[in-house]
């Protein structure tokens, strides 16, 4: 009897220890989520509730959509062990190209979109070619690309702004999904979509848990699973509710959401994604294991070019004009978002969800500080320090574990 008793006690103790251990080893993921929540609460208070007003939530989504879209591509590039400094310039260039095609050459919106996305792919391929097959450091190739495409957009626009765009093009960014239920406000389509997403997230989470249990994979403790999912579900419902009381779901949110899911799936569940992580983790070992390292590196850049072009179209549609300054220094925000999200400079580490949350952290800070009326000077300083703090936190965690 006493033997059983002490055994129980031991088990209980080890369960407690493992709960704490779990939190420590997964500090990064939870830390990131809690940091985002803390930052939102903070700005909600200091802006007297302006941050989470429906109109501002809608703005937040519109303002950050192109950063998030590019962060998806950047995460893949960085996981593959490279970096792309040219995305801001490429984005500006594609926006300028779209303006020239539509306004000057009178191309149709569809033709323009296809041509611009194709152009992004070509730009990515051109840069990726040198990085992948000639082994020229990506930092240098894309630094050159940054200069080239900054110049190219100036040349295309002849230093002027070109606009406006037709309505159908603008709706890429500022359009909203109409309410199919006819209620209008709150927008029932938005609410329904939100509920559907929450259901899918919960279903996938539970399915994974039961599968993990079957294979004896040590899983997240139930308490954490519940709390985390409650927070995520709450956040999604809050987001869609806010949006529904304004103008409903922005088109760009759908684009962004679908892309995020697609890329999260690609990186985590496919052979393609797995091989990119292996490539970034140890390129030589990956190559000797039959991973086509050159082709994958090339593809990460092609993909980045495509997403940068898409971001360029969305950005131009949002401003309703193409300016020579579009996308200036934006690559830094994108790269910062990916690193805040936990990616490693040396490659092989990082997640899509991390990059998206990282981008939102940057976005909320930008937005909140602007509402507070903090000058751009202080904003830059604060953003810089947050980036540094996030990376220090990473390194510190790693050392403690290691």
């Amino acid at each position: 009897m006493s033997g059983t008793f002490s055994q129980d006690q031991e088990q209980e103790q080890s369960a407690k220890a493992s709960l704490g251990h779990y939190l420590i080893t997964h500090m990064r993921e939870y830390g990131l989520l809690f940091a985002l929540i803390a930052i939102m609460v903070f700005f909600q208070i200091v802006t007297d509730g302006t941050l989470m007003k429906p109109i501002n939530i809608t703005n937040l989504v519109l303002q950050n959509s192109y950063i998030i879209i590019m962060a998806l591509g950047m995460l893949v590039v960085i996981v593959g062990g490279n970096i792309d400094l040219s995305v801001g310039s490429v984005m500006g260039f594609v926006g300028a190209l779209a303006a020239v095609m539509i306004v000057k050459w009178h191309w149709s919106v569809e033709q323009t979109i296809v041509a611009c996305l194709g152009c992004g792919i070509l730009i990515g391929a051109a840069q990726g070619y040198w990085v992948a097959y000639w082994k020229i450091p990506s930092f240098i190739v894309t630094l050159a690309g940054m200069l080239v495409f900054r110049g190219a957009s100036l040349w295309l626009l002849e230093g002027q702004s070109i606009g406006p765009f037709p309505r159908s093009f603008q709706s890429l960014s500022t359009g909203f999904i109409p309410d199919f239920f006819g209620v209008g406000r709150p927008n029932m389509t938005a609410l329904a979509a939100g509920a559907l997403i929450v259901a899918v997230v919960l279903y996938l989470g539970l399915a994974k848990r039961s599968r993990n249990r079957r294979y004896g994979i040590t899983d997240e403790p139930m308490a954490f699973f519940t709390v985390r999912n409650a927070i995520i579900a709450g956040a999604i419902m809050f987001l869609v509710y806010s949006l529904s009381t304004f103008r409903g779901l922005p088109n760009v949110l759908i684009t962004m959401g679908v892309l995020t899911i697609v890329y999260a799936f690609l990186t985590e569940q496919t052979t393609l994604g797995r091989r990119i992580y292996a490539l970034g983790g140890n390129a030589k070992a990956a190559k000797l294991s039959g991973v086509p390292t050159e082709r994958l590196t090339f593809l990460t850049f092609v993909n980045m070019g495509f997403l940068a072009a898409l971001a360029g179209l969305i950005f131009a549609a949002r401003l309703n004009t193409a300016t020579p300054k579009a996308g200036f220094a934006l690559e830094l925000d994108v790269i910062a978002a990916v690193f805040i999200g936990g990616a490693s400079m040396s490659g092989g580490v990082g997640t899509i969800m991390g990059a998206v949350v990282g981008a939102f952290i940057m976005g909320v800070m930008n937005n909140g500080m602007s509402i507070m009326g903090i000058g751009i000077d202080y904003q830059q300083i604060i953003k810089g320090l947050v980036l540094l703090a996030a990376v220090i936190f990473d390194v510190y965690n790693k050392q403690k574990q290691g």
Partner: protein, 506 residues
Amino acid sequence: MAALLEMRQITKTFPGVRALDQVSFSVEEGEIHALVGENGAGKSTLMKVLSGIYPFGSYEGEIHYAGQLASFNGIKDSERQGIIIIHQELALVPLLSIAENIFLGNECATAGIISWHDAFTRTETLLKKVGLTEAPSTKVDKLGVGKQQLVEIAKALSKEVRLLILDEPTAALSEADSQALLDLILELKTQGVTSIIISHKLNEVRRVADTITVLRDGATVSTIDARGRDISEDRIVRDMVGRDMAHRYPDRERRAGEILFDVSNWNVTHPEHTDRSVVKDVSFHVRAGEVVGIAGLMGAGRTELAMSLFGHSYGRNITGQARLMGKELNLSSVPSAIKGGLAYVTEDRKELGLIIEEPIHRNITLANLPKIARAGILDSSQEAQVAEDYRKAMNIRTPSVFQKVMNLSGGNQQKVVLSKWLFTDPQVLILDEPTRGIDVGAKFEIYNIINDLSREGRGVIMISSEMSELLGMCDRIYVMNEGAFVGELTADEASQERIMSLIVTE
């Protein structure tokens, strides 16, 4: 003779692990003291305590060095007192020259201005001492691992060494180079240098050591006085593993079948200096179920031959034919080599074999992802199952297959690499130094795995710098020298002497 070093009751704990438990260890002035034990026995930890990498105060116990209580706070402190440690992982800067490396942090300079003339002439003398003929201006990355090791020793000599600590100095060296290195250590002894040598190679320990201390599980098991006495390897092994080890190599039945893999007239040139021929007209074959060894000195071209076969991963202007069961193979890329039935376990586990930051299961499946995927989508449950199967079959010691391979010992890491290749179901495995840096117990397990593979009718090509290992494991041994095959011996004919004489007469 007086004790130069006395470590008393050293205890060092890490979170959750007691790495050293009241270890006492004393070294006399002018002796060569061997420190042996399985991986994880605490040898490296003890040396890190000694050299100040784990600073004074982070451990319990006392260190007395040269009659004084030592309180080193870093490697600089211990180096100032003449304690020089040469680590298993070499600490050279690959893109700097030999001379720059030797005097790194200790430059021949006045007021910060380096005298290159001085540095080069001193380097030449030092290199001569360690038996290297390279020019002092040679970049270190142009040297093989073995020669880099000698540069490390030259570097230690430049620092007025009094106590030299060598952590696995011969692990990466060929037999002949190892002998030269051991002679060097004996030579240094006559000049008054005291050495501590950590090694897995017991024949070397027997040859040079005056005293042998055996560690097991963080505690001292025995200290053996070996002066003028012949201590048997079995005796040492018994203390190391805590049990008798009847045989160093498992018994194997020879059952060579039909010719499985054959290579004819294989030629490879250096990738940069294309006029330099690295593999010269090599032809050989492997039968089903046969273990074939390739013996040779460091730089003989064995790894280059293996890598050029495996998807042209090394060299240029590769010519020659390779056939599997008489059918011509396309080996022009790694994926086609894998598809052709080849697997290559690299010499350098951490750099070329594993993705060290990734977990075990992802390493095991990497070379054959399509097998656990449908239409490019991974089945993570199946993957976990596969990894779990290999964990059991290979006896990989880990709490879970989701652990990073970084956290495994060398032997278990090697089992992960072997699992990865077995998952591709290869016909022919090329194993390049498969037991390097692995302790005695794990070596035996690897040997058993190799025998299992041959029993399944696969062909195994084994490259090793430990001749006794080739003699103990192989059915047939090819001898390679300067890029060419200079001889072929069956297991019955082969002996260390015959292999050496084949190399030397060429």
